[in-house]
Amino acid sequence: MDYFLTEEQRLLQEIAYEIVKERIRPVRAELDEKEEFPWAIMRDLAQSDLFGIWIPKEYGGLGMGILENCLVVEQLARGCIGIATTFAASGLGAYPIVLFGSDELKRKYLPPIARGEKLAAFALTEPGAGSDVSAIRTRAVRVGDEYILNGTKQWITNGGEADIYSVFAITDPSKGPRGASCFVVEKGDPGFFFGKKEKKLGIRTSATRELVFNDCRIPRSRLIGKEGLGFIIAMKTFDKSRPGIGALGVGLAQEALDISVEYARKRIQFGKPIISFQVIQHKIADMAMKIEAARALIYSAARYLDTKADAPDASKIAAMCKVFASDVAVQVALEAVQVLGGYGYMRDYPVEKLLRDSKILQIYEGTNEIQRNIIGQELNKEYGRIKESFIR
């Protein structure tokens, strides 16, 4: 289907898919097996300029929007969402600086992230604060010209590999959710340590680590925006990034469909290719419909969010993209394993990895339950504002 993309947008897709074909597909199984961080591919992505996607031009980026980010990560996800997540997490880590950082912070941190010389990470979750982000306990106390951080962050993507971290911490415990703030912490800052790399079900090439702040001292100028803006920064960042999680789902599902159809056309049972069985046709038809619906939602939502920066329903729309497409990804990956039968279950074929990988999309960047809460609560508010009655 033609989504009327511009020449530039098509070129982004082309370049990202070239990297998938030439660099990612040949190594994805090995990286997964060895749980090895994809540094070589990060360097390819750096050379492709793609790390600059949503960093403003004046800071060395391409100055593009949510749609372009979605187009790129969708393609990368056809290769491996462990790699695509690593890539996307750097953008996620940079976004608080892009949105709320001072010119000084932007000038210092954005150009190397745009060039792909340094990776960024986004550190919100803690052992006691997952879905309930307001429960974070990491403290930042201002002492003179410095902030001193103490606490632990858990399951941080790119932890240990990234150089630049957007870290959320409580500056004023008396103010509840308005007492959180966001800081830039650099790898190497005194008192900043990393835990071991987590062993995971999927996206095993991506690094997920604990961050430990033990009297970690950073200059006062590392505060992003103002004190108390922490959760606003987090939510605004998620509004930009959640369609991208959906796009990861679309790309992964597309790969699962491509492999399923190709396989079903070749696999002979009962004397004919299994694609001639109506059951298989219906399976792939459902897979294809769901993927196209998810893609159409994400592209139009991304265009909308890009053109209307302060859309009042931004959180709802972004959440819809994330939930719908990640659910599609899990369903499609599961069906792909079924279409390939026993071969699908074997590590010799890529679909078992797609199934293992897909599950994370329903969990990180806010679980799908939490997204549905956001959508439901927003609907409740919207309808509370409508005076007209629909019930006669």
């Binding site: 070129l11 370049i15 030439e22 660099r23 492709s48 300029d49």
Partner: protein
């Protein structure tokens, strides 16, 4: 510093077909690509540019039919600064000499050049002659089969060569010409910005009048050699497998060679 990279467009398929009547390569309907070794030549140049982005300029040059422009666009998309296409009816049918002669004229026209990098060989013509011939015509020192390029001084290279005899390390003063192996580094992916620029780049096309060359000095007319016949070699059917321990095998091989009258045995 100005680097010229010579790139050739070759058929994408490994099993090149030959027209039995004209004895030339069947190019119609065969997709083309950049000669794989020339991708390494470009990568070698780009790595030098990475060291000093503002002061290194890379020009890619190819001689070929109008569609050879594609390999130049590809090179620009990976970071080359400029490109020149040498294309003229009169260039058709060039042998390695006429090819080198034409390339040499174009490089002279480009003005000051510090380093020329070629691939080890083209995967279709396969002669590995163009690089050394070009250096000879331009009166430049050259090194072939280069696997590594380093700088000793701003204008002196330390290069590593892989030959049948072993590895050699040479000091090469600039200007010079190198032909490279795949060891120089994995060719990089396309960059978004460079590809956008490449798509809008107007590739200059130089013909015999631009190079002030006579029709007689280029193409088929300027060639000393002509392809009379091209054929796939007959497969040797005689095959003997020698088994046993290493010393038994050696003894048996010696016997066999002696029986065949190999001189010196």
């Amino acid at each position: 510093m100005h680097i010229v990279v010579c790139v050739k467009q070759v058929p994408e398929t490994q099993n090149v077909k030959i027209d039995p009547t004209t004895n030339t390569l069947v190019r119609q309907g065969v997709a083309s690509m950049m000669n794989p070794f020339d991708r390494f030549a470009l990568e070698a140049a780009l790595r030098i540019k990475d060291m000093d982005r503002d002061n290194v300029n890379i020009t890619v040059i190819t001689m070929g039919p109008p569609q050879a422009k594609e390999v130049l666009i590809d090179a620009l998309s990976r970071g080359a600064d400029d490109a020149v296409l040498l294309s003229d009816q009169a260039f058709a049918g060039a042998d390695t000499w006429a090819t080198s002669y034409t390339l040499a004229s174009a490089i002279r026209k480009l003005g000051s050049v510090d380093l020329i990098i070629c691939g080890k060989q083209a995967i279709d013509g396969d002669t590995a002659q163009v690089g050394p011939e070009l250096a000879t015509l331009l009166d430049l020192p050259y090194a072939t089969y280069v696997s590594r390029i380093e700088f000793l001084e701003p204008r002196v290279l330390k290069i590593t060569r892989q030959t049948d005899e072993g590895t050699a390390v040479w000091k090469v003063p600039l200007p010079a010409l190198l032909t490279v192996l795949k060891d120089v580094g994995i060719p990089r992916v396309r960059s978004y910005r460079a590809t956008l620029r490449a798509r809008r780049y107007e590739v200059p096309i130089w013909g015999i009048s631009d190079l002030r060359l006579s029709k007689e000095s280029v193409g088929l007319k300027g060639s000393f050699t002509q392809v009379i016949k091209v054929f796939s070699p007959q497969r040797a059917k005689d095959r003997t497998f020698i088994e046993g321990s290493v010393s038994e095998q050696a003894a048996r091989l010696y016997e066999l060679l002696k029986k065949q009258g190999v001189p010196g045995l």
